[in-house]
Symmetry: C2
Subunit: 344 residues, 2 copies
Amino acid sequence: MAIITIIGAGMMGSGMSRPARENGHEVRLVGTPLDREIIREASVSGRHVPMKRNLPDGIKYYQIEDVKTALQGTDYIICGVSSFGVDWFADEILPILPNGIPVLSVTKGLMDDEQGNLLTFPEFLASRMPKERNITFSAIGGPCTSYELMDKHQTMVYFCGPDKAVLEQFKALLQTEYYHIETSTDIRGVEGCVAMKNAYAVAVSMAIGMAERLDGPDAYMYNPQAAMFGQSIREMTRIVRLLGGNSDLAGGIPGAGDLFVTIFGGRTRRLGYLLGYGKTYAEAKEELKGVTLESVVIITRMSRALRKMAEQGKVDLADFSLLLFLDSVINQGAAADIPWNTFR
Amino acid sequence: MAIITIIGAGMMGSGMSRPARENGHEVRLVGTPLDREIIREASVSGRHVPMKRNLPDGIKYYQIEDVKTALQGTDYIICGVSSFGVDWFADEILPILPNGIPVLSVTKGLMDDEQGNLLTFPEFLASRMPKERNITFSAIGGPCTSYELMDKHQTMVYFCGPDKAVLEQFKALLQTEYYHIETSTDIRGVEGCVAMKNAYAVAVSMAIGMAERLDGPDAYMYNPQAAMFGQSIREMTRIVRLLGGNSDLAGGIPGAGDLFVTIFGGRTRRLGYLLGYGKTYAEAKEELKGVTLESVVIITRMSRALRKMAEQGKVDLADFSLLLFLDSVINQGAAADIPWNTFR
């Protein structure tokens, strides 16, 4: 049995305690400064309030002040922060990690730079870590909602990272009868899907909102959703290829699978639904106040990067008309009037 | 304006009357011997009883005895039979078609032969037609339920066939503000998706039935469906490649898009649901009595073909473990106990 320290007690970070405890590992759950209440309540009652679930027995809880204590003797790290916490993780946590410790991240997203280059989070974290400290960064992709992992629903995911042996270690640690893990060194392929599925889930959900606006709450209208789903995976395939990943992943577990699960609930679906229902982005944002929207960040970043690449003659923007349409709705206040005839 | 004769007055054949009439063409709808009642009622009241919809105004209706009258002066043919009617269409209709007339088919499926070779329906029909008669066979793929086409829901489809110019003619005839058509000469790619989506819709629907068996009618359980969806497109990608088609189609409109729409309703979903709920195939078949199950045919044929190809060293069966699992449930009475760990 190993000691696994999870840093970040949000939904997905905390969710990872399920397979870890199932397999008998010692789990130390450390809250970020934003998780103070979650840790306080869970350490008293075992309850994860936002997740509306009891966490597994036997977890050791730590507030952020005690992170160094939590790191003593730990064998593995799970980074449980959202994309909005990655800089914090890089600034505050990376410097205090033990040398040689493997890190597995649940963070979803991509960074972009001035030139339109895109960077996955495992790559970003590695770029912030001196080589001689010998720390590898791996990440999780695929259709897995934290609620359902907690409830032991059958789930298939990918662990991706630069070192196959490390990935196999993580798989051995965390695979259970309900949590099925494939490993891949194709970080850009897997993480490209992980990031983009949030963007495209807005599109499919928009068709759901549109159906209800046109036909009422019992609308039987699936052709438009299905068209949006197909167009989404089509563009995602091109983006993964552009990132240098294996584009088959876009049609597989991390792409199509994860897009599928994302449109059945959560804030991304809600945003798309409201836009399709006829709200402007400003109105939808108002209604979703306080909710972090990773989908908006990735739509904005990827559209920006694609435009830069188009200026350099590297891509044809017509191949990404759905994504750029989403960008126009979110960043230019355009109406959510789906440009069906531009899809190819 | 053109004269379009639709042969086969089932759901999808009749559905095609919507865009054809929208664009002002003369539409002649000919029933097969199985469609006698549909034609009789529609010719009196305009009502398509199985579809629970009124057909567009101005259609001319014909019973099968009058098919030659319907063919006089017609410019285009739409073949509206299901896969169970293809032999009938080849035997009875092909010989009486005017030379040089373009045929567009809505039929979904693939044929297999003794050696494990697979044939799409446009290829099969062409093989039954002497070259000198100069008739091309095209086909429709993509997420389009007949109800929704009739209700003018936004829909994206592919027209595929050997002759790009003919495909563009069909597109010009039938494209409307709600029916969006892309054309492709990749018949095997598009038709491979069209056929296989019926097979894999059983798998995804099985996860839906399983969720309800385990957690009741309000089950919130999407991770398993999503995993099945991803695994389905993964295997479909391999099958399209095997057929010599562009495997990107599996993640696009004809593959992922059509699989998506298929799991929201209809007999294929119902079959998968019952199996996932715990019924044997024999019990499910009993409950679905009288319903034609194209999904069962394609699961059986494709599994048979893959096994033959494996014997010849052309494929690794482990790449198709979901399909072969479906085959074992349907053709060997196996329990619908999803083999999660065999998926790759």
